[in-house]
């Protein structure tokens, strides 16, 4: 904002003003690019997944980058998926809406839907149960497994949903995940 002010009437050196504006713009772009690069690094660990402390070190600006990566179909599935999990560290209305839409949409790619379940559960706990209950009815066994895992993360609020599904679940791996989520 201070840079814009330099365009004010009476500025004797418009050329320098333009240079300063350009430099400031480039500086901001460079900072954005540097943050994006650090976010992508953290989403691309070969054997490493980022912690809350890693994201905290990048500041709140990381959440916008994470949302951008998660929505970018040109990014790899694991980067997008890890961004969805990481959004769980940055609760906010836009992120919640996006995570919720992925969890509820049967057409969402399996990996993204699974990761969205985790991000949603970590960020919104009991408020995520209704969305996760939809995913728990998915025809994809891996999505059901992750919905169960996510319901385990939200604690007691997810218990009745898990119990209800356990009564009709016929896949052994999903049953195991439900029982694990119920602490059995």
């Amino acid at each position: 904002m201070a840079v814009v002010g330099l365009f004010g009437e009476g500025n004797p050196r418009p050329g320098m003003t333009l240079s300063l504006l350009l430099a400031a713009t480039l500086s901001v772009a460079h900072a954005d690019e540097a943050l994006r690069s650090r976010v992508i690094d953290l989403l691309s660990g070969v054997e490493y997944t980022p912690t809350a402390a890693d994201w905290a070190a990048l500041g709140n600006g990381a959440s916008d980058e994470l949302l951008a990566v998660a929505r970018d179909a040109g990014r790899s599935p694991t980067q997008r998926g890890n961004a969805l999990v990481a959004l769980g560290y940055f609760p906010g209305s836009e992120a919640r809406s996006y995570l919720s839409s992925l969890v509820r949409d049967a057409g969402t790619e399996s990996l993204l839907r699974r990761k969205a379940c985790i991000g949603l559960a970590n960020a919104y706990k009991g408020e995520a149960v209704a969305d996760l209950a939809v995913a728990l009815e998915s025809s994809d066994t891996q999505v059901r497994t992750y919905a169960a895992k996510a319901l385990g993360l939200v604690g007691g609020a997810g218990t009745s949903t898990l119990e209800s599904r356990l009564g009709k679940e016929d896949n052994a791996s999903v049953r195991e995940a439900i029982n694990h989520a119920l602490g059995r």
């Binding site: 540097a34 690069s37 650090r38 690094d41 953290l42 691309s44 660990g45 070969v46 054997e47 490493y48 997944t49 980022p50 402390a53 890693d54 070190a57 990048l58 790899s76 599935p77 694991t78 998926g81 890890n82 999990v85 990481a86 990996l111 699974r114 990761k115 379940c117 985790i118 991000g119 970590n122 066994t141 891996q142 497994t145 992750y146 895992k149 996510a150 896949n171 052994a172 791996s173």
Partner: protein
């Protein structure tokens, strides 16, 4: 030489059975240079410590001792110290980066490989490892064995690769035992792996494909350390490296990792242990086969005794003299690829997957790998 030839039928259950029988197929491919010896059972004191002695034969080029199983959760083990035949302490866990030796702190099975650096070449004679266990019930008893490789070392080698598909044909249709050989994506992955490993002086030898015979539903998404270890137990014996290709790998926090090696280093040539292979996440295979090739090259490198040139935090480095080290210049807890340009990010063993950037191995890395028991000199 007081040891026997590797048997392809060796399984974890044979720990404690003593001598193994020779396998003509492996002998024909040079596995007569590799021997497996059962060291027996060892019981710790109430502090969790016990000495594991073993002898390396004349002409040894590498030795790998491994002890377990001791389970998961909070059950961990490492080497408190290792003493060489000359009586030198070549590793002490209180100063883990103090020598050119590296030892993990691992669940279920602890493999320890010599050498992981040309600065600490393996010697002939008597070694002792002070095993240190932190498990739920002490004293604890574990079985230990040793793999020794003797004979020639070459700068030109081959590695046989066994690729096992664990329910991943939904990601790439050709990722099955029957279709992989003619599948374009798999061909691109294998070619990429060959390109990257060529910098190590390694050519791909026999590449075989098969479908996983176990519980695909359970293992196609590897969830947690115990599932990871249990999948690796399905790897067979032999002078080869087994890659399990899965839909996803989640170590418990819900996020994906791209690959994991048993160990590192992995238990070479002996199947049936929780460190007997490598697991690869193929979620990105359809859009980026080169990344899967990079991850296979990276994890295979771990299996054969390589470490990250600089760990993600910047706090640890590999024991090699010719790999660059990077420091966390901005103190954010992460050595980023951009701040480590020219300082390790170009190495295949870089901690983050950077396809097209991380393409190099160093001479010291080639030195280490050339001595691994799964590597066959040409």
């Amino acid at each position: 030489m007081n040891s026997t030839h590797l048997a392809t039928s060796f399984a974890l259950a044979s720990f404690g059975l003593g001598l193994l029988t020779a396998c003509p197929e492996d002998e024909a491919k040079g596995a007569d240079n590799v021997s497996v010896e059962d060291l027996g059972s060892f019981t710790t004191d109430t502090g969790g410590e016990v000495d594991i002695p073993w002898t390396t034969p004349d002409g040894v080029v590498s030795t790998e001792v491994f002890c377990g199983p001791y389970g998961y959760g909070d059950n961990l083990a490492t080497a408190a110290k290792i003493t060489s035949p000359g009586g030198s302490e070549i590793y002490n866990w209180e100063d883990p980066y103090g020598t050119a030796m590296r030892v993990g702190t691992l669940d279920d099975m602890l493999p320890v490989l010599l050498s992981v650096s040309p600065d600490l070449a393996v010697e002939e004679g008597d070694y002792t490892m002070r095993l240190l266990m932190a498990v739920s019930n002490l004293p604890a008893t574990v079985s230990c064995s040793v793999v020794n490789r003797i004979g020639d070392v070459s700068g030109s080698n081959t590695v046989d690769v066994n690729v096992v598909f664990v329910g991943v044909d939904g990601i790439v249709a050709g990722m099955t035992g029957a279709a992989a050989e003619s599948d374009d994506t798999m061909k691109a992955i294998v070619a990429g792996l060959g390109d990257l490993w060529s910098d190590l002086g390694i050519e791909l030898g026999e590449v075989s494909y098969e479908d996983f015979g176990g519980d695909v539903d359970k293992y196609t998404v590897v969830d947690g350390d115990e599932e990871f270890g249990n999948l690796l137990r399905e790897a067979g014996d032999g002078v080869h490296l087994t890659f399990f290709m899965v839909q996803d790998i989640d170590l418990g926090d819900g996020a994906s990792v791209l690959g994991l090696s048993g160990g590192p280093p992995g238990v070479a040539t002996v199947g049936g242990t929780s460190k007997s292979g490598v697991v690869i996440n193929v979620a990105n295979a359809a859009s980026n086969p080169d990344e899967v090739a990079l991850i296979m090259a990276h994890e295979g490198g771990h299996f054969m005794g390589l470490f990250h040139p600089t760990e993600k935090s910047g706090a640890g480095h590999d024991p090699l003299g010719d790999t660059p080290e990077c420091t966390d210049g901005n103190s954010d807890g992460t050595v980023s690829t951009s701040e480590c340009s020219g300082k390790g990010a170009e190495n295949v063993m870089w901690w983050a997957a950077k396809t097209g950037t991380s393409v190099e191995f160093s001479g010291d890395q080639a030195w280490v790998v050339a001595r691994n028991p799964v590597v066959l000199p040409k």
